[in-house]
Amino acid sequence: MYRYDEFDHAVVRERVEEFADQVARRASGALTEDEFKPLRLMNGVYLQLHAYMLRVAIPYGTFNSRQMRRLAHIARTYDKGYGHFTTRTNIQYNWPALTDLPAILSDLAEVEMHAIQTSGNCIRNVTTDVFAGAAEDEIEDPRPWCEIIRQWSTIHPEFSFLPRKFKIAVIGAEKDRAAIRTHDVGLQIVKGDDGGTAFRVFVGGGQGRLPHIGQEIASAVPAADLLAYLTAILRAWNLLGRRDNIHKARIKILVASLGIDAFREEVDRHYATLRREDLRIPEDEAERIKAYFAPPPFEDLPKVSAPFDRALLADPDFARFARNNVRRHRQAGYASVVVSLKPVGGVPGDITADQMEAVADLAERYSFDELRAAYEQNLVLPHVRLDDVPAVWRALRQAGLATANADLATDVIACPGLDYCSLANARSIPVAQALSKRLADLDYQEKLGPVRINMSGCINACGHHHVGHIGVLGVDRKGEEYYQITVGGSPDEQAALGDIVGKSLPSEEVAPAIQRTLDRYLQIRAEGERFIDTVRRVGPEPFRDAIYETLDAANA
């Protein structure tokens, strides 16, 4: 993984000093709250319902044991002993004091971490495939390009005061495990005409109040010209994007209103006159960065592992974990292990300081000191020898982290909702907890197979409800919490927005209604059909009936 050199160290150190200066000027009155707010946001500092919230970047989700231990230290020292992983593979602390923030940022800088641009109207933390560098179907590891984009976008002089936030995701395989078409810009590595690395570029995806699926603007931008092309896109939007209405400021609205062809022409006009040579990624710099992401020194192992196979036979709990949370690896004899942060009745994405340290130990001992944060608010040990998976599982179980539900119905993605967030209309966490308890039976969940359920506490859609196979959106009806349900959304290469099935439900009705939806699927699914396949085949109608049947009966 990437390691800081003297320049990277200087940037994060100087950023801490700059922020301390800003905090001092806010305290002295030299900066008003309105002026201070965008500056603190660009350092990941929100003011939530109960306290400040700090969002720390885990660039493209890759980090190591030393960094994880530092995150645990921060949770203990400055917060309440836990953190919360987000869908942008960041970690949030819910209780830090403003006066402690420069010290926290210093602690982070020491381990090559920061909170730069995890919020604000700027280019945000770049995300990627959680299995980058481990997946079998990858044509190229996307992370060096993520790092190049991270550096290029950090404290960008032209693009730090954009109309709204700007999110980029990069993938290196045909299969989309990073939801690139729900991003402002999605990049897919392809082979260019000359056989070199190139990027297929999607633009104008996004969720929120007016969700859009990204459209292709370029089929193969040569890698060396990537930053020039991104500059042209951002420039076109920075100059033409709406600033009069926060809900219409994202690039998706500009792309939709101009149409993709007219927007492409606008981008091409800028591309033609910008200083492309200056922005060309120097080949030696690209090579230097790629060298950090070379595969770890894998051992030459047979495809099958006797200890793994023995454990499968010996322990049905391990067998279940292996079925649900262990993923194939490109290297024979290795696997990626998903560490679920979705225990029954837990807060999705939350992790205690002790658990962080337990995971750090496992990464150090069994996964070449590498950890990943996943879009699904889980963690991944990317490179574990099959021989070691039983030991990893035992240690995870000790730490309360071995819930065998990855990608199953209780692997719920949820935003913090009204329990923490000042923007929310309704709580998300209690609804996710009720659902998790109701569907806790793992036999039942395995029978259902993969189902993605997403929950957002407001239309900003941080829980990505639009692209959940089942989505739940909290709404405020005259001061009461209600929940709107969507069916058929999907974040992958067949990206789709879910259909709203009907009127919203009170909170206690949500979990039973979702269970009826899943039961209906079990009744009508064809052989081998996943939940989302069935929805695509039959449409939302049968599920609407299931959701409202008891309610209709009660009203009849």
């Binding site: 320049f7 200087a10 000027r25 920075n238 922005l279």
Partner: protein
Amino acid sequence: MLQTLEGIQNGLRLSVTTPLEEVEAAAAAEDVLVLEFDAFRDGRGFSLAAVLRERGYRGQLIAAGKVLPDQARHLRRSGFDAVELAPGADRAAWARMDQAFSAAYQPAVDPDPSIWRRRRAAANDRDLDALADRLNRETAGKGAAEIVKAALDPALGLKVGAISSFGAESAVLLDVVAREKADVPVVFLETGQHFLQTLSYRTQLTRALGLTDVRLVTPDAEEKATLDARDDLWKTDADACCDLRKVRPLARATAGFDALITGRKRYQASTRADLRPFEVLDGVLRINPLAEWTGDDVEAWLDARDLPRHPLVEQGYRSIGCWPCTRAVDDGEDARAGRWSGMDKVECGIHLGKRKAA
């Protein structure tokens, strides 16, 4: 630095909300253009300035209106020369924020070299002797794997290769390297006069260790035709033969590398008694992870890792080069006594720095 100007400045004043085409058309005839920010959050002004500069506007660009000291370097790096401040503005804060960062990653309109350019400059102008000293200090007391790891640290930005004869002890070095990074280029000098056993061993070892980039380097065909058309130069001038088949090809093959890993050890020869793990030879960093190893260490490693042995070892060969200049040694002899036996020659020359004029 961004100039800070007090009071209303002369020049054409346009809001940053003005469409680009109008700003461009208006600017063409003006020596001074003042762009007014209606709100500091409205970042259009930065793109307007950058586009104007990139399209060749040479007049003075002044920012005015609602801007914060914290935006000083954004303004400067986007192409503004100055900011118009209200009387009583905190100029010290403007100066401080303008210089808050010693460098920026991305190239922009300002002339300061980006971090990317500085990295390049640093890479082209490195002090290898100091680097070797530092690495020797940092790896003191550490094992071969740590030494290789230190050399491969991407933060150093070195292009690292290894050289190997695929001889009697080569498996150890190659194993250590492969465990750190299997795609390190390994240069093998295909002199054309190796034992057949060496060639088959090369294939066997490459496969066993999973090395993915073993490069065979042959003598230049023209040079060979001139100097040694009949492949018997070794009989008359072994030094010239080594020069043709090893020293010159190696120099060509390693031109692109900043650092070369070798398997040399102090105990092998008196010429190697002062060998350090890191040294500089002809402007290239040499890394000798096994410098401090003894013959017993080598044996123990080969055993412990169950590595394939060179087939000639059991016939008494303990240092293996080209067939004409290598013989087996007896138990009491130095390992390298079988190389250029009977000649006043211990080294082929690839580890000796530039040849002195005779």
